[in-house]
């Protein structure tokens, strides 16, 4: 056998690992400095120069884009925190798009895949329109959607399950003996507002509790509007004993109003939020909240995309991340007061 250059001798000459040489020769994402060292060593040793040259000329950008609706929203930031390290560990740079939930901006991002500035895309649209579906059908790079897509859409997809999430919260309140459970919701013409409102009604029905319109108050997904909605509800139903709030900011507004009205939380009124943001553990009393697994969804999406980038073919996959209920003092009482972030007790989804 010829004792010509091998991956081993190149690795030795370049002062890098065998794995690194292999990555360079196979055109996988590798630090530019390593590529240079390996090229130089391969050159000196007269090794299969063409393969190296090919890998350098490949159309790979070693970039992946993440398009989210709002760079200021804690739920998307929780996704970002998980996506970033997974991509970095695999040698990809992250390009960040904030679309302000404008459909035209999201379509633009999908269209721009034709420019081949990234190898793949993770997108979390507020809703998926017909225009999205058309662009997805002809996308020039692998795409993973975080959020619900219509049945039969041919795209990798990571979903939350807010219906089961609301169910966990209502069941928890029921188990604590609460029977006048109100819903403080955001606008019903938004995807989360509609889904959370329907889930509340369904959960009550399954427990044999009547649906009472007096117990439903619509405001907006922010703290001051949440406070106003709770004040209106308290005027109408003074003996309400639990509040299911459609997000954590509404729940913080609820705590403000209950405190001002002299109501004890949770003795008089138990309060549950949704999204389980950092604010939930920081409030007082600390806030029981439904986690829809933003972090887990981000991680799952990054891993699905990496598999596609490694060449895994096959049918589109759907991953559903189960919700969890983080139980804290606003329902379970002062015994939970000192639980800081990372010290919360959780009840699993089902």
């Amino acid at each position: 056998m010829a004792d010509g250059p091998t991956i081993n001798t190149i690795a030795e000459r370049a002062g890098v690992s065998i794995a690194s040489v292999s990555r360079v020769l196979n055109g996988l994402p590798t630090r530019q400095e390593t590529v240079r060292k390996v090229m130089a060593a391969a050159d000196e040793l007269g090794y299969v120069r063409n393969a190296v040259a090919r890998s350098l000329k490949s159309r790979r950008t070693h970039q992946v884009a993440f398009a989210m609706a709002d760079v200021g929203n804690p739920a998307y930031l929780a996704m970002l925190r998980e996506i970033q390290p997974v991509l970095k560990a695999a040698g990809y740079r992250l390009v960040l798009h904030s679309t302000d939930a404008v459909v035209a901006d999201e379509i633009d991002v999908l269209h721009s895949l034709g420019e081949r500035y990234v190898d793949g895309l993770i997108m979390s649209p507020l809703r998926v329109t017909e225009a999205h579906l058309q662009m997805l059908a002809t996308a020039r790079a692998p795409v993973v959607i975080i959020g619900s897509v219509p049945e039969g859409t041919r795209v990798d997809n990571v979903r939350a399950d807010s219906r089961t999430g609301v169910r966990l919260a209502i069941d928890h309140l029921y188990a604590l003996g609460r029977r006048r459970i109100a819903m403080i919701n955001g606008p019903l013409d938004t995807v989360p507002g509609a889904a959370r409102g329907a889930a509340y009604r369904e959960a009550l029905g399954d427990l044999g509790l009547p649906y009472d319109e007096n117990l439903v108050q619509i405001g907006d997904f922010y703290r001051p509007e949440g406070a106003r909605a709770v004040a209106a509800l308290l005027d109408r139903v003074p003996d309400v004993d639990a509040l299911m709030c459609a997000n954590d900011l509404i729940a913080l507004g609820a705590l403000d109003v209950l405190r001002a009205a002299g109501k004890r939380v949770p003795e008089d009124v138990a309060v549950v939020g949704m999204d389980d943001t950092d604010l939930a553990a920081a409030s007082w009393p600390s806030l029981t909240s439904v986690s829809l697994g933003s972090a887990e969804r981000g991680k799952a999406a990054a891993e699905l995309l990496l598999e596609r980038l490694r060449g895994v073919d096959g049918e589109p996959r759907v991953v559903t991340v189960p919700p969890r209920l983080s139980v804290r003092a606003s329902t379970a009482g002062p015994g939970y007061d000192t639980a800081g972030p990372g010290h919360d007790r959780e009840e699993g989804g089902r």
Copy 2:
């Protein structure tokens, strides 16, 4: 005069604005679709095709990188929230790096500018080392540093002023009649720990208050360690009447411990945090906190970089963002309790 094609006739034919045609012809960042329309119209009209071709072949990437220490840290996220829209409005994509505050990673990012995958870089290092300075001296693209750099460093630079920030807080506590003001700090071998500790000592001195080592407690920058540090301090100095905490998480730990010890906030002990994160307004009592202007620093850095990308030459610039004190219930009392985010009263820096 020849009535050949002009910017006006191209714009009309392409169905885009004159400004868009100008941007394409000058090689400025423009949406790819607009570039295509303008090219097609210019082709049809036989206009200066070379200029268009040149602009398309230019080395511009229309990407800018932001390298931050930790994608999970609220202070950096506040910068990101401001940087992203400024760059987007100017037609740049954002590439996000998280360096975990590892110097080698930061050097890598600076080195990688040689690959020309971005037109410029905004970096927020935890500290600037000799290695940083060497890389900055030969950087292949404009760089803006958020953070302190050594005197004479030739780089655009946006700074906070934590010394004045601590001063604002101590003066506020003094004005409220507090005289036994303790400092709950993070490790002194970190840049923020050292700076905030020194600023505390200096502020006391200027007010004629003695520096008492018994009033200083060192823990770490997280809530459980903050709580432990405050518990130790309360054991030693039961009549302490104010706590200057080196960040908001420490201050949340302080509120936990004071509540458990039966101390009223602010009647018995006033509490101030630093960084003015979203957690400060969410806590109860809501937390007075020193803002070091993370959002403003991000915005200023993006604007400085855009000027360089537009070709502005000249000496490196230093922008110092003044701190502010966001006064809430933990020092000012229950009158401030209902102030939500965006409803806080602020005292200006000086």
